[in-house]
Each structure stands twice: as C-alpha cells, then as structure tokens.
C-alpha cells in the first residue's frame, strides 16, 4: 500500500492543460498540416498519409479536423477547421457524448491513438466523452480503416443500432478516403460513400491531439 502511495507521488500530475492552457508544441519532425505554398496547387488532406516521400512540406500544426469533406482540400492560405454541431445537437450531446468505435480494416494505428485519449495524459472523460461497449448505449460512432468488404455489413448494422440523433466521425486517411487501400478491390472509397459523416479527422494515423481537437470543436468547446 505504501509503495502504491509513494509511486503515486512520484508520478505526479500528467494530464495536459490543453485546451484551457497552451497547446503542446510537437516535435519539429512531426508532419502535421501541410504547407500549401503555391495557390494553384491543391493538397487533399483526406488522402494524404503525411509521409515524407511526397514533395509536400509539413508544419507541426496538429489542427486538421473538419466538418465537410471538401474542407480537407487545401488550397491557398485559408484554414478551415471543424464547426460546432447545431444548437439542438449541442444541447443533447454537449456535456455527454458516448461513442462506439468500429474498426473496419484499419492497421490498428488509428485505434491505438484513439485508445491513447483514455490515458491520464489526455483524459478524454473530463470532457464528458466516453467510448462505450454497445451501439445501443452510444450517441455516435467513430470509424477507422478503409471499410473492408468483410466489415461493411457489421459497420452498417452498428450504425443502424445507434438511436437517433447520432453523429459519425471518420478517423484516419483510410476511413476518410480509403487512403492507401483505395485501389484495393477489398476496400471502400471512404466512409461518407456509405453513411453520412459529421467530422473528418485526417492523418495516418492522426495524432491524439488532432482527434481531441476535432472532438472538442465539434462540441463547441474550442472555437478559436
């Protein structure tokens, strides 16, 4: 018992101050929001894996989640970020949002970084957001992966089992657009071709901060 208490003191407080305090600054090599220098060029953030191979330069800005698919197409300097849900939805979900997660062909990287939101560092439940074990208990669904042929039916059934009104969140390049698997006959071309999507979180995988930022914007807890 003493050991547990001693260890507790040693560990200290590890939860980040964000969003009330300052946003953490990520490592310089972190490939966040692409920098689009030439206004005639367009980068589709929904398809990019943020890999170092392509000729894109990246900033270390982790804020990338948007409400509409077309807002992921970056052109010029304008920065579009996710909008809050409408007033009625905010009244219902603003203080308590229960989500069901469906992994549909993901490589498990998105899933792991969703799990990270439950660690002491991010402590997602302090915002009233929780992942639940049944679609019947859920207000919405978080989908990862390119939606493989073998997962399509299970995904649709899960969606249908969630009571109305409900929200849908696509996390990761695969769920947004099919990502690197878009050309495979086994996968789909993005979640919004199957069910309507309220929040798109791009990245391969998105940094936990990118997901957190998106969720909080959706709930109107970050507006800047």
């Amino acid at each position: 018992m003493l050991k547990i208490i001693l260890n507790r003191f040693k560990q200290g407080m590890k939860t980040i101050a964000y969003p009330k305090g300052k946003a953490p600054v990520l490592s310089l090599r972190y490939r966040g929001r692409p920098v689009v220098a030439d206004s005639s060029l367009a980068v589709d953030l929904g398809k990019t894996t943020c890999s170092p191979d392509n000729k894109v330069s990246y900033s270390n800005d982790f804020r990338m989640a948007v409400s509409k698919r077309e807002d992921l197409i970056l052109q010029g300097q304008e920065k579009k970020l996710a909008q809050a849900l409408n007033k009625e939805m905010l009244r219902i979900f603003g203080r308590s949002l229960k989500l069901r997660q469906v992994s549909a062909g993901g490589c498990n990287a998105c899933e792991l970084d969703l799990n990270v939101l439950n660690t002491v560092v991010f402590d997602l439940s302090r915002f009233g957001i929780q992942f639940v074990a049944s679609p019947r208990h859920a207000d919405g669904m978080v989908v990862t992966g390119p939606i493989t042929r073998n997962m399509r039916e299970a995904l649709i059934k899960t969606y249908e089992a969630i009571p109305e009104p409900k929200i849908v969140i696509a996390v990761g390049a695969c769920a947004v657009s099919g990502g690197i698997f878009a050309e495979s006959p086994e996968s789909s071309h993005g979640l919004d071709a199957i069910i309507p999507v309220n929040l798109y979180v791009p990245g391969c995988p998105p940094h936990p901060l990118t997901i957190l930022d998106g969720l909080l914007r959706l709930l109107g807890k970050i507006t800047a």
């Binding site: 040693k10 590890k14 490939r31 894996t49 992942f131 042929r149 391969c204």
Partner: protein, 503 residues
C-alpha cells in the same frame, strides 16, 4: 537449397521435388531441429501452383527451401497437418488463395474470406463476393448444459474486429474458435502491383503497431533482391527504432494486463509510459508509429549528437520509472494471483503449434530472430534472450518485463556508439528471377517477408507472415478448461494482431 536470413538466391536453384519426396523432406527436417517457418503458393503458368516450403534451423541460422508443383488438372495435395500441426494455417491459406485442396486437412475452412488468385472457382461458394457470413462452420460440442458464446466481429472496446466462438460448459470453456478475415485488405497482391513508394507505405500499414518491423522486413527484401548494401548507420537507426517500437508495445501490454487484473495504478502509469516511447519515435521519424522511417536503401531520418544525448538522457529516466512501476506490478499478490497458472501452454504444445515471439519464449522456446538469425545491428551487438518457465499469463508478462529492461540496456549501450556515415544509398534495380527472404524479430515475434521476382525483375509474388499468424492458435488452445471470465487476461497476454493476420 540453403539460404541465410537476408539472403538472395536465383529462383531456378529452388529444387522441385515430387509430391511424396516433398512431404517426406518436410517431415524429416521438422523432426530434426527444423521448423516450418513458411509454406506458401506461387502461381506458375497454365494455372499450376508451386508450393514453397521454408524450414528454419534456429541453431544453425540457416533455412532450407524447396518446392513441389500442384497442377491445374489435379488441384490437390496430401495435407501435412495431420502429422505436422504447424502447417494447418499455412494449408488453409493455400487452399483459399489458390483453390487447391489439402486432402485430409482435419479442419479445412476459409482463413480470411476472399476470392482466390488463380481466377478459378473458389473452394467455398461466394467467399470473394460478399462479407463474411455469420454461418461459419464451427467445431461444436453437444450436451444439455453446453452453450455457446459468440463475440464480435465488433468488440466492446477500441479493438480490431474478429469473431470469437466460445463453447462452454457453465463457466468453463471447452473450446474456443477464432474466425478472422474482417481486416483483409488484399495487401499481398497489392505489393506486386504498386511502386516502391506505395509499397513502403503498404508495408507500414500491414500492422500499424509493427510499422517499423514490417517496413524494415520489406526494405531488406528489396535490398537483398537488388544486391544493395545499405550504410551501417541506416541499419543501426532501423535497429534503434525497432527496439523503441518493442518498448512502447511491451510497456503498453503490461499496462493492459494490469488493467484486466484490476490493478489500476500500474495500468495508468504504463499507459502514459508507452506514450514516452512513441514520442521518441515521433522525435526521430515525425510519426508516433515510426511511419516514414524505413525506405528501401536506408532510412529517411538521421540522429544528430543532440538527439542522441537527449534520447540517452530520457531513456535513463524511463528505465528508472519502469523499474519502479514494474516492481509495483510484479510484487502485488493480487496481481500475481491472477497471472499465475492461467492460460498455460507447455513447452511441447508451443513447439507443436509453432509459437513464436514472447508467447513462445514464455513457454521456454528459445526463438528470437535477433539471436538465431542476427542481421544488421544485432550481428555486432548481442541482446540476451528472455525466457519464461511456466507458459502462463505470468510468464508472458514476465518475458515482456525482461525484454523491456534488455532493450533499454541495449539502446543505452549502442546509442552513443552508432556507426558514422550516410543513411541512404539508392536502390539498384531488382535482379531478374530472384528470391529473397528476410526475418525480423518484431515485438510480437518473428516477421517474415519473402519476395520473388520475374524475368523482368518485377515482383511476381510477395509473401508476408506476421507472428500472429502462428500465435492465434496458441491463444485459442490456452483457453481450454479455463473460465470464460479469464479470456480478457489471456487475450491481453498474447495481444495479437488482427490486421497482421488478415493482410
């Protein structure tokens, strides 16, 4: 034909044996120190299929490779499984990928549910055109008080999909059967159709938690097929990243085990400490999972003196923290009472099933690619093997604890002495009609990639094997005669990859 880890041979030198001799050779070699590390099909002309067997000799650090031909006219061969259990998943895979019947296979059913590569009628109707049906064949037990519990494909937490069917008598599990395939994205055929850049990305997405392990294996296959010698510094940086990946996952697994044993302090600390290692990978590669680091020809990111110093300083702190938390976990009687004697796999069983990685080492199997088939960094820097004695959840947790400590010591030793020089050399064109095999000890165990080129020097077959391919069967077997409520703990003690299995 013999081949080393990371070796290249001309494909023409792979012997073709008659069916009976092929079978006898596999059996003989596997009875004498060998084990079946790979067994897969390759399309030849006119719908014929060449079956390639690769036997590994861990003591001698060498592989024996040979083949036989199954013709389109008689698409069948006698199954090895009744005598050699290690072959059972390989044969199910061959049956599904090429519509060939392994005659006498005791439990032949689809592995991943997809259409075959030969373009003929599948062995199972419609498996390529509709989602996995809910009516799979399952091993069933009859009796008044026998009941079944079906779980999945969508699980209760943030977990990948798979279907688990428990056949129980009261609380006791008589049999567990696991149906996977929901994550099947068709990566193997995609690897032969895409360019180097795209294949690098694909290899990183075989299993995202093993991005470094799989992309390293892919790069080494391409380097072996093209005869490109990469700079020692790039090999060392890959090694550093692979150990960081192991650290992150092992620490995370100990946290998950702690959570399922109901001991929250260690679970919370491990969850956070896992993030420390991912953040080191982020600092090195720009991605928390190390995506973007390994490319055929070397690595894309270097470490300067400041970064090395910073890593050493942090790793020293993390080591102390880990020692303190793991002490907390492994001296807690309530935790040990949950871990000990649960989900036991004996050494003989582990050998029979062909288990690899920490799951095998927990059952006293001395298998570690870093030691048995050392390449790159591990040729010059040895890492001791971590073995468990009891084959239970405790042993699988303890092996992870030992490996965390040893990886930390290993990194602290090698980081200040990384070889100097470049980190990248352009890849030469692939040689025509070659075959290369590469094994990498990922955090779950032995990752194996095999590449075979055609007359033009293009990939004609790319075979991927994640360690989970062997170990899922171990998880199912260890659940027999256990309480159904013990499943989560046993499952976490293996923590296998769904997508790595499903490809």
């Amino acid at each position: 034909m013999r081949i080393f880890n990371g070796g290249h041979i001309d494909f023409i030198n792979v012997p073709v044996l008659p069916e009976e001799e092929f079978r006898r050779t596999v059996m003989d070699l596997c009875q004498n120190d060998g084990r079946l590390v790979n067994f897969f099909g390759l399309l030849e002309g006119e719908g014929n299929v060449r079956l390639m067997a690769i036997i590994g000799f861990d003591e001698d650090a060498i592989f024996e490779i040979f083949s036989m031909i199954v013709t389109a006219v008689h698409p069948e061969f006698p199954s090895l499984t009744p005598e050699l259990l290690q072959a059972h998943n390989f044969e199910r895979e061959i049956a599904e990928q090429f519509a060939i019947v392994p005659c006498g296979h005791p439990w032949l059913k689809p592995l991943r549910y997809h259409a075959n590569y030969r373009g003929v009628a599948d062995l199972w109707q419609d498996i390529g055109s509709r989602p996995i049906p809910g009516t799979y064949p399952f091993f069933s037990v009859a009796g008044e008080e026998v009941h079944e519990v079906g779980v999945g494909p969508v699980h209760a937490g943030i977990i990948e999909p798979g279907h688990f069917r428990f056949v129980c008598h009261g609380e006791e599990i008589l049999h567990l059967e696991i149906q996977l395939g929901y994550q099947h994205r068709g990566i193997e055929p995609m690897m032969t159709k895409n360019n180097l850049d795209q294949c690098s990305l694909l290899s990183e997405a075989i299993a995202g938690d093993t991005s470094i392990g799989h992309s390293m294996a892919y790069c080494e296959v391409m380097e072996a097929l093209s005869g490109t010698a990469i700079p020692p510094r790039s090999q060392a940086i890959r090694g550093v990243a692979l150990e960081l990946e192991r650290l992150a996952n092992h620490v995370g697994d100990l946290g998950a085990l702690s959570l399922d044993a109901g001991f929250l302090p260690a679970s919370a600390y491990c969850g956070r400490m896992r993030g420390d290692y991912l953040n080191l990978l982020l600092a090195l590669t720009g991605n928390r999972f190390g995506k973007g680091l390994c490319r055929p020809g070397g690595v894309l990111f270097d470490m300067d003196e400041d970064m090395i110093k910073d890593f050493c300083r942090k790793l020293t702190i993390y080591k102390k923290e880990f020692e303190s938390v793991s002490d907390l976990l492994f001296t807690r009687p309530s935790v040990l009472a949950r871990f000990e004697g649960l989900g036991v796999i004996t050494s003989d069983e582990a050998k029979k099933y062909g288990l690899v990685g920490p799951a095998g080492r927990a059952s006293q199997l001395e298998r570690d690619v870093r030691i048995d088939y050392a390449t790159g960094l591990w040729q010059f820097n040895h890492i001791p093997i971590s073995l468990g004695a009891t084959g239970d959840v405790f042993a699988r947790a303890w092996v992870r604890r030992q490996e965390v400590m040893r990886s930390l010591e290993f990194l602290l030793k090698i980081l200040p002495t990384l070889p100097h020089g470049n980190i990248f050399t352009p890849l030469a064109p692939l040689k025509a009609d070659g075959l290369a095999i590469v094994l990498v000890e990922g955090w779950r165990g032995e990752i194996m990639h095999v590449g075979i080129t055609d007359h033009q020097g293009q990939l004609r077959r790319y075979k991927i094997k994640d360690p989970s391919f062997h170990n899922w069967f171990g998880l199912a077997q260890c659940m027999r005669n256990q309480e159904i409520s013990d499943f989560p703990l046993c499952n976490k003690s293996f923590n296998l990859s769904y997508c790595g299995h499903d490809l």
